[in-house]
């Protein structure tokens, strides 16, 4: 089994919130990606079994959201760099280029040592702090190349 009992229990605890099992698809995918760092194909089958769905139904929803990773686990830090207008107007795209060079990867890729996955984001809803970067669960506003470098240096 790809999903251990803790994960299965976490998913089951969401059942009472919704009148259908299918509505648990997105929350379940979040649980799995948060705990495993990705949603391996075997997990899709197990989620489907738990929710009494065809695996294709789970896979269909999953594939719509570019958010869930199936090829390999995410890096320990998932770095989202905003490229939408408010950030672009204040240097967001330069930051992205700088980070690509610094990490040696392109958006969507993970460093070979698994430290970081780089992502482009559309508006992060933090435009008053442009340019904005989200690293895992922490927002970093008013970013500069120096601040980005310090962030990268501190990655584990």
């Amino acid at each position: 089994m790809t999903l251990d009992n803790d994960i299965l229990d976490a998913i089951k605890s969401l059942f009472p919130r919704y009148p259908t099992r299918r509505a648990v698809v997105l929350p379940a995918l979040h649980v799995v990606q948060e705990r495993l760092g990705w949603v391996p194909p075997a997990a899709v089958v197990e989620i489907a079994r738990l929710l009494e769905l065809a695996p294709a139904e789970v896979q269909d929803a999953l594939s719509f959201y570019g958010f869930f990773k199936q090829d390999r686990p995410l890096g320990r830090a998932r770095i989202w760099v905003c490229r939408s207008l408010s950030c672009a107007a204040r240097g967001g795209e330069d930051l992205l280029a700088h980070l690509c060079a610094r990490l040696g990867i392109r958006p969507g890729q993970t460093t070979p040592d698994g430290r970081a996955t780089l992502e482009v984001a559309e508006c992060l809803g933090a435009c008053e702090q442009a340019p904005a970067v989200l690293v895992n669960q922490t927002l970093h506003g008013n970013m500069t190349k120096e601040k980005i470098d310090a962030l990268v240096d501190a990655l584990e």
Partner: protein, 460 residues
């Protein structure tokens, strides 16, 4: 701008303003107590209707009217969805409200559920708001412990629970039927309407979808009364029988090329220029504005000469924009190329189109390719005509698509071409001196290329 007492933002500056005790000390849950003790659901609905409240999520639909579309005497369940997907570029005020004063939003949600007889509410919160998630979950836990949520709220016959449903980084989930599909566990493909959600929405039941700020307004309408709400803002235009007016306070935002990016509260109808100068410190670096996006990227562009436009539901429309949108302005200074605005906008919508409707899926992609070609110094004047054609032919308004995302894609194109065509032509002439007049489609398309249609790093 007349004298004005901020209410939506009153708690935001208080220390621990997100905690129940602070909220209650400022009069919080007073409106809910009174409503449950003294008002029937239809009375709450009637107060919201007479207040003239219009939805703050972008379309400005009258809230009381929307609620009145719910079938009477439905056995239930009825659902309420709180739209906290907030992904319209330039927009961040829902985040500020939830992070800083979640109880104000929750009180409005409970009142609105009472009015609509909803028994479960889902807050669709975009994934990128982890602090808002933490604050909201903590506030909901406080409410359950204090008897504001759960069975028989405050000893009344009314029961409600509120659950948070996290998004997964897709703009189209903010469209109300995309949101519904997403909660149901499917791809967020917007539904063809009718049936509207009020009749057949979440889990095929009657459903109301409202924006975070709309619900926060409901709290104050029930607390202070509809007459207070109507004393703020702009009355209906007597020459336009279809204008219901723009009443109440509004949370505005300013970002981009201003000295002090941020949020602020003002009466609906304050002039765009006044808001930028007074609250955001004016345009940065001593420059002038070239253009301002009035309320999120979809709404298009106001030119500098149009900045006295009142920021109410009717103002930006009169200036040729899509609408007030979210009231979050993006200021672009006189040095910022309109081509860069256009490219950024076309890239966003090409990335976010859900792909169901051919005009939207293909139109947004072609518009992006045209921008790429012009940026690469291969632009032709005819490309501007092609862009204009896309701008005029995709969307609900021309009647070619299922949802409004395509209209949002069209307006920035329309406004950029309609208001700044000279600048774009000049760019094409100077960057492609030998080819700007070319019209043969085949050679030109070769560059835009099919492989890959969107660059890997643009696909994201």
């Amino acid at each position: 701008m007349p004298d004005f007492e901020p209410v939506l933002t009153a708690n935001l500056a208080k220390p621990d303003g997100h905690r129940l005790a602070v909220y209650e000390a400022g009069g919080g849950y007073r409106a809910l107590r009174r409503a449950l003790a003294e008002l029937a659901p239809k009375d709450v609905l009637e107060q919201v209707r007479t207040s003239g409240l219009r939805g703050r999520g972008g379309a400005g639909f009258p809230t009381g009217l929307k609620w009145s579309f719910l079938p009477a005497d439905h056995p239930g369940p009825i659902y309420l969805c709180v739209n906290a997907d907030e992904s319209e570029p330039g927009t961040f005020v829902n985040r500020v409200l939830i992070e800083g004063d979640p109880h104000q939003v929750i009180e409005g949600t409970i009142l609105s559920a009472y009015a609509t007889r909803a028994s479960t509410a889902y807050v669709y919160l975009r994934y990128e708001y982890p602090l808002a998630l933490a604050r909201l979950e903590a506030a909901l836990a406080e409410c359950r412990a204090a008897g504001y949520l759960g069975r028989n709220i405050l000893g009344s016959a009314f029961s409600l629970d509120i659950f948070v449903h996290r998004g997964a980084a897709a703009y189209v989930c903010g469209e109300e039927t995309g949101l519904i599909e997403s909660i149901e566990g499917k791809r967020a493909w917007p539904r063809i309407k009718p049936p509207f959600p009020a009749v057949e929405g979440l889990f095929r039941r009657p459903t109301v979808v409202n924006n975070v700020e709309t619900l926060a307004c409901v709290t104050h309408i029930i607390d202070r009364g509809p007459a207070w709400f109507r004393s703020i803002g702009v009355p209906p235009d007597p020459t336009n029988p279809r204008d219901p007016g723009s009443f109440g306070p509004k949370m505005y935002g300013a970002s981009g090329h201003v000295n002090r990016p941020g949020w602020f509260e003002a009466p609906l109808g304050a002039a765009c220029r006044e808001l930028i100068d007074r609250f955001a410190g004016g345009v940065w670096k001593g420059r002038r504005a070239k253009a301002v996006v009035p309320g999120g990227l979809s709404t298009g562009l106001l030119a500098e000469s149009e900045l006295d436009t009142p920021m109410d539901f009717a103002g930006p429309v009169r200036a040729g924009c899509l609408g007030l949108g979210t009231g979050c302005m993006i200021v672009l200074d006189e040095t910022y190329p309109i081509l860069e605005f256009l490219y950024n906008s076309c890239r966003f919508f090409a990335h976010e189109s859900c792909g169901q409707c051919t005009p939207c899926r293909e139109g947004t992609q072609w518009a992006l390719e045209l921008c790429q070609r012009i940026r690469a110094g291969r632009g032709r004047l005819v490309d501007l005509d092609l862009l204009a054609e896309i701008g005029d032919s995709i969307g609900i308004m021309p009647g070619t698509t299922i949802c409004g995302l395509a209209d949002g894609a069209a307006w920035p194109i329309k406004n950029a071409l309609g208001k700044f065509r000279d600048e774009l032509e000049e760019h094409i002439r100077t960057t492609n001196p030998s080819g700007f007049g070319q019209t043969e489609p085949v050679e030109a398309m070769e560059f835009a290329g099919r492989e890959p249609r969107m660059n890997a790093d643009e696909r994201g």
